[in-house]
Subunit: 308 residues, 2 copies
């Protein structure tokens, strides 16, 4: 915990665009990822919750990652999500990411069974590490109990860190519980902890956080990156307040649909609003509320997005 | 709702056996399924929660179904689980089951995202039906909110029944909420409702239930089948009490591990106790408690199981 650390920064859980027939729009995905990096993203946590990754098949995920890397985006900027319910799937995706030289993977615990023990989740992660058997593997644990229904307790993190030093290297905390993020930062100095929201970004940075991985970075990454650059200066608090205000507006709506609605509007690309079921696009009235609130914050016009 | 109906009966959510290296033991699986049918199972709801289906890859599930049918078990006895998080996976498994002539499929809603709307789940099921596009398709909805975190409300069932008559034909209710099962039976006469436990089997049959789909049928199917045969006779209540007592003992323990522990013991086949993480095998003390309780009910010696 040091005020001198340079955080890893803002990793964007990039949205996955679909065509109106629900097939993946690979071209728009690559353009979106490239735009995020141009805007200042420090990296891309592709295939997370915001990416609807669990609504994609394993082969779709592999193909998309290939396409991204083949397009010229460095795998050293990529932290793909690879945690699935089934061990063989998690192993396959993790191995693929490591072989393609991604800097890390973001690993959900197996999330179908609820009420499982720390021991069971430990065994899952340990088995993946043993099977992938590659010294390049760097795992970021994905703690998101509101969706997964299971997660990584402090005791489990401790056990994993001791068993796999240099392999289990960080955690995305999407618990929505700032106390948990604080506890992680305090308990495990040097462990790369990313809050799942920019709301506590500055506070987290001051406690030694690695940055953040936030859904709304899909539409607002530039000012987040700016905060990363100046977080030790007096300007930081006002910038944090602006970020918090925008986040507060967007998170009143379903996150994936809201972020996609914003991109659809800004790029005049209606297909951006397509989500795979069980998610639904924003209804017209919700969209209007969202845009009215954002306009009041002078948000929409401030961040024009190049069409894909 | 009629006392004259002949229920579809006891469908067993067959356990999936693994080797000690966690690979699927296909041979033991086939032997187990054959034994269940020999014991009186009216059908097999393979690839459910008890089967650890979500811990299997799509290709493992397809291969196992192929193996089962190739072994000579009629697909008309099979209701494989096919509901996954990702639409392409659900479509692939459902199409495969229909093409192999299975009498039905048991469909989980997409279960990663929580707090989704009925409309989103409706869209998921509708999309699968449209894509499979096969008049042979018969869907049984799999309602298990304690695991899936999402489920099929009465309003959603009503909507699906009206939109897809003859396609959406039944539901397995593993809510653990007998009031919900009653409401389903009362609201949708003719709809094939299977409680997810034998505890309420007799009561459900008297309300027009199709039978039940219960984890413990893996080790206790014969007396369940007997109840199906005699449920209209005075002997039925005493038989139900015996079933309920055995169920009550086993469900004090994690269901998959407990059922596997029983088969491991009865068949002197230690590998039967292997589960894939995040599940764990029963600890020694739990196993001893389980067997002590079952012996008090004269259970273990009553149902010897032929070794696979």
């Amino acid at each position: 915990m040091s005020l001198d650390h340079y955080p890893r920064g803002i990793l964007v859980p990039a949205l996955t665009p679909f065509h109106s027939d629900l097939s993946v729009d690979e071209e728009r995905f690559v353009a979106h990822c490239q735009w995020l990096l141009d805007e200042g993203a420090n990296g891309l946590a592709v295939f997370g919750t915001t990416s609807e990754a669990n609504s994609l098949s394993i082969s779709e995920r592999k193909a998309l990652l290939e396409r991204l890397i083949d397009s010229g985006i460095s795998p050293r900027m990529l932290m793909p999500g690879t945690g699935c319910c089934a061990l063989p799937d998690t192993v396959a995706l993790t191995r693929h990411a490591v072989e393609r030289n991604c800097f890390g993977v973001l690993m959900l615990p197996p999330f179908y069974y609820k009420g499982v023990t720390d021991d069971g989740i430990y065994a899952s992660i340990a088995e993946v590490i043993q099977r992938v058997a590659d010294s390049r593997l760097r795992i970021y644990l994905y703690h998101i109990p509101p969706m997964a229904g299971v997660g990584f307790s402090l005791a489990l993190v401790d056990r994993l860190l001791k068993a796999f030093p240099g392999v289990v290297v960080g955690l995305k905390d999407s618990s929505g519980d700032w106390k948990n993020t604080q506890a992680l930062l305090q308990t495990f100095p040097g462990f790369e902890v990313f809050p799942g929201s920019e709301t506590y970004l500055l506070e987290a940075l001051r406690m030694g956080s690695a940055g953040c991985i936030s859904a709304t970075a899909n539409v607002n990454v530039a000012p987040m990156r700016k905060l990363i650059e100046v977080w030790k200066t007096p300007a930081a608090d006002a910038m944090q307040q602006e970020l918090t205000a925008i986040r507060a507006v967007i998170q009143k709506f379903p996150m994936v649909a809201a972020n996609k609605a914003i991109l659809a509007e800004l790029q005049a690309a209606p297909d951006w609003s397509v989500v795979r079921p069980p998610l639904r696009s924003l209804a017209v009235d919700a969209r209007e509320q969202l845009f009215a609130s954002l306009e009041r914050l002078h948000f929409v016009t401030r961040h024009p997005v190049t069409a894909a």
